[in-house]
Amino acid sequence: MTDKQMTGSEILVKVLQDLGVDVVFGYPGGAVLPIYDALSQQNSLRHILVRQEGAAVHAAEGYARSTGKVGVVLVTSGPGATNCVTGLADAWMDSVPVVCLTGQVPTHLIGNDAFQEADTVGITRPCTKHNYLVKEVGDLARVVREAFLVAASGRPGPVVVDLPKDVVTATAAYTRPSAPMQHPSYSPRLKGDPERISEAVDLLAGARRPLIYAGGGVINSGPAASQLLTNLVNMTGIPTTLTLMGLGALPASNRNFIGMVGMHGSLEANMCMHDCDVMLCVGARFDDRVTGRTDAFSPESRKIHIDIDASSINKNIHADVPIVGDCGYVLEHFIKLWKSRQARCDGDALDKWWTQIDAWRQRKSFSYKRSDTVIKPQQALEVLNQRTSGRDDVYFTTEVGQHQMWAAQFLHFEKPNHWMTSGGLGTMGYGLPAALGVQIAHPDALVIDVAGEASILMNMQEMSTLAQYRLPVKAFILNNRWMGMVRQWQEFFFGGRYSESYMDSLPDFVKLAEAYGAVGLRATTPDELEDVVDEMISTPRTVIADIVVDPDENVYPMIPAGAAHNQVTMSPDEEVVLDQAHREEGMVLV
């Protein structure tokens, strides 16, 4: 192929096409006008115009997490880039592969406090996996390719490429490389140490009360890893819990699935975490929402920890058998070894363990009291789950708060990549733009944002984007007129002093939907609920369903911050088990 002189903008578009990118979420501005001009000269790369740059990153996250591909963002310099910071931090915490292309003022103006100048590389350094400032047009193609390699491989994450305006207008030769990219210092380890894996097989086989605890790393590894996890669970009969990020890695209908773990996880999952004697952690990171008090965390277990990121191991919890590697590779090796050794856990001990787990299950920790007059949020999600189960093409996103936890408890995922939620950063406003990105990737699928009325208002402007591209996203708002999770914590830890958590002057969501050319529906009583859910699902347009729910409902069970796994508060009828010391600790902890 002969070298052809092209502008930086043309090179950028060409590299993106060569990398197989089909969609870019973005917003134009002064510094990126040359790139937008190049975009207008071609047809294979589709641009989705969001209404605020932060939403572009969440949309790219939704796209990435529902496809396994890299999500791409294009924004201008200064405020365009700074608006992306929350989304980048979100993608960083949840290991989502995103490449964010930011405009920058021309190189000779950098450092001069030029119009719409910000130190994008400096600002985004701590919330990205890596970032680049391209100073020469000759480096542009290599850097963009490298950015995709870094974003997608190893533990995925967001990468920023900052593009000064003079670099994208300068010209250079462009040749498509024939070989895949090699990086001199960056090479994530995929295969685990065979000796460690062998040790892990022996340890798990010798367990009397084993537990598998799997997380988002399994999903990031690809669908094959989820299948391998399911095979391992079926083969061994070991009870298995998933983290918020891991839902879908094992089908919810699997009889060995004991529900989500953590602060609002099932009683049986948390009790198993506490009482197990061997814990196999696959692609999860012992987050504080999972462990509760670390000094009382699973005190009697020996722990095997599989993670592609060595810094996740021994960060919060000591691992007896650390295995650095990709979940898929390690699980494959583990299963092979398990089979060849004809390993199995002690059957009698496992039966006894399951008897205990079934007793915990009998407590039905997600149960709630129904009402004839007011819709319970859990009930709304039960109906939603029932009306969407059995369908392959349903994707859920959430905002952040009580509704998110209820969604995690009551929606059942049979497959990976169908559940998009902001776990690590806890970003209110994530769900609607993420749903936008999912719908772009899966135009014919049913995409539902389970929302709270407070969260969704943080990115409500994206209704306009949904309208422009006729994306039939459903916003299912559990409207309790409160920042529910804030109110719940104020009730538990701050003496019921509800400081600034009431959502006053809310819009009429039905009229709001109509203002954006969408369909607005509302359910205020339990007998309206099913019809509204059915109508929402069957309407082939953008819908906001305003589900007016009980404002006083709390999320149970709950392990209050500062408590151990066996100190679960099950329901409002049960006294909060905290003593004064823990109550004070809870006020301080997040």
Binding site: G122, R125, P126, A296, D309, S311, N314, A564
Partner: protein
């Protein structure tokens, strides 16, 4: 086992060498990691060590529990332009040196005493006026601190220290 008691965690010093691409911002990545995650930096030295390969070497003296130091190592390894990370304490025998320039302004007995102590410490005079000396001293962190402390009552006015440079003993690189 009930709730574990609060354990007193023992900490140790670590001297860490980080081999990085010599590119803009790489020092900020390393230093930002320490400040962002709340690790200590007791000493920091950085310079290019291989011009043809474009490599710089950062030497950091830090302290923490074994778990924290292992975290620091793993977090450093995660930075994309980082080629190699080495904890000298774990690696075995090594040599650590620091250089300092120490300015002392005094006259009479104090000036004579400063010169005498400098001789004991094998510090060299690199600048002299009627009323002052600038000493150059090389050695371990502790030796330099001891020298600076002794100069304090003898008219110490300024100190510039390079931070620790470290290298392993024997024929192998890190």
């Amino acid at each position: 086992m009930s709730v574990a008691e609060k354990k007193t965690v023992s900490t140790r010093k670590a001297t860490i060498a980080v081999l990085v691409d010599n590119e803009p911002g790489v020092l900020a990545r390393v230093v930002g990691l320490f400040s962002g995650r709340g690790y200590n930096i007791d000493s920091l030295t950085v310079n290019e060590v291989d011009e043809s390969a474009g490599l710089s070497r950062i030497t950091i003296v830090t302290s923490g529990s074994e778990m924290v130091i292992a975290q620091i190592m793993a977090q450093l390894q995660r930075i994309v332009p980082v080629h190699r990370v080495c904890d000298f304490v774990m690696q075995g025998l090594h040599v650590e040196r620091e250089l300092a320039l120490v300015k002392v302004a005094s006259t009479g007995d104090k000036r004579v005493e400063a010169l005498r102590i400098a001789d004991i410490f094998r510090a060299r005079v690199v600048d002299s006026t009627i009323g002052s000396f600038v000493f150059e001293i090389t050695g371990s962190l502790e030796k330099i601190s001891a020298f600076v402390d002794l100069m304090r009552p003898l008219g110490l006015v300024d100190v510039s220290r390079t931070g620790v440079a470290a290298i392993s003993r024997g024929p192998e690189p890190i």
